[in-house]
Amino acid sequence: MLLEPIVPTVLSLRRIPAADPALLVAYGADPTRHVALGLVTCDQDDALYVALDEATKHAAVDVVFARSFYAGSAHASGRLSGEILGVIAAAEPQAIEDGLAALVACLAHDACFYDADGQRGITMFPHVIGALGAYLSRAAGLPAGEPMAYLVAPPMEATIGFDAALKAASVRAVKLVPPPTETNFACAWLTGIAPGDLASCEAAATAFAAAVVDVAARPRTR
């Protein structure tokens, strides 16, 4: 159904209580601070990026690794691969547990793609983060706690959608990633021109979603 949430699936979820230092280094962790790892694969990469960031707000964990796989979950290397592997690291296994709990809750109830054409033939990710955590704030170059619209859609829909979002509210582009990406979507991160302007981020995301639905319904117009 149109605009129904498409809840992401956690395909695998494992812990390493005391990881080998070589592995820690290879996956971007710091052996002097990190001991335990939490590893997740998921069938929606952007939902997991948001969920990983969410974990950093609830536990003393760092997101040390998060990479989308080529061509998305429909072309995965195995049934547990999905389209992303995310790794959080911490000094204590308990912090990993707390972080994973927040991450799983975020995937189950918050961050997700939506059906943009009523048949799941076109999907989009018009997510608004109320307050950035340590991971995405560093990636975006914004202070932690700032709001941000995290917008993803297929190439044509996304391009029309980004334009609509930028014009709909007083927001600015933090990052615009034209297609192709690893999963062949396009992505934009927008934040308020004034710091802390959540309402503008929401208005931009809504305009983006409406534009994507419109392109999906009317792919050709003059």
Partner: protein, 298 residues
Amino acid sequence: MSGTRALIAALRERLGAADPAPPRVPMPVVPAPPARVYVPRREPARGDAGGARHTTALLAIGHVGTRYATDVVLQFQAELAVAHEAVAAEVPDGWAADHGFLPLSSRVASHREFLLRPDLGRRLAPDSLQRLRDQAERSPDVQIILADGLSATACVDSGPALCAALAAACQQRGLSVGTPVCARFARVWLEDEIGHEVGAKVAVIVLGERPGLGTGDGLSAYLVHGPQIGKTDGDRNMMSNIHERGTPPPQAAERLAALAAAMIEQGTSGVGLDLARVAGEVERGYRPPQVRQRLVEP
């Protein structure tokens, strides 16, 4: 938690897509289905070497999805209604006397009690017992008892004719038949008490049998030699399916009289009776292929 879910739900509402029902499919063109008519004796179905004509089972009626066609449903319901009506029917007050029977009743007081208490249906009510003692002829060779059993309809419709034919057949063999009686709310074993009271050599009870689908007109007859309370089913001989599609009443009367005569001659009944000695007379006749009646007129 972010507010994204609520945000998108609001957008869905605004776009008029909040109705959770799936989109309407194009209006179908609905042609009237072909007539699937219940035909009692139908032409052989494809690949059927005429087998369906050897049975009254409802075969080759087709199907609608996995269910019955409407016409079959109506026919079926009519057959069920006929059966239920036959079970629920009662012999009208005064009917027995009007048709020349001495009216008797078992100890059963109501139709429901009749169904639930077979023990009461096997014994005479005190006033009926007195009437039998006062008015019935003593010591006949054969005591004929008509009874409602599980179909008063069959009892009333074809009972008198069968009883008259049976009496005539007995008399033709030189057997006396005594006073004809008709018992209400009666079970088979009631013949033991009645036969014993009048001192009959053989008691025959003719009663409406449990109806089948679409039928309520069948009679059964049970015969016992030396009737008295305590006789069991092994002491009896019986004939069922007495109706036009089974054994027609005139033939049934002849065979029942032959059985009664054999019992008197051999001095026993039931498992002790040597049927081989009367085989020619009581053997079941040829039954032609059956036809089911259409109850709902087209």
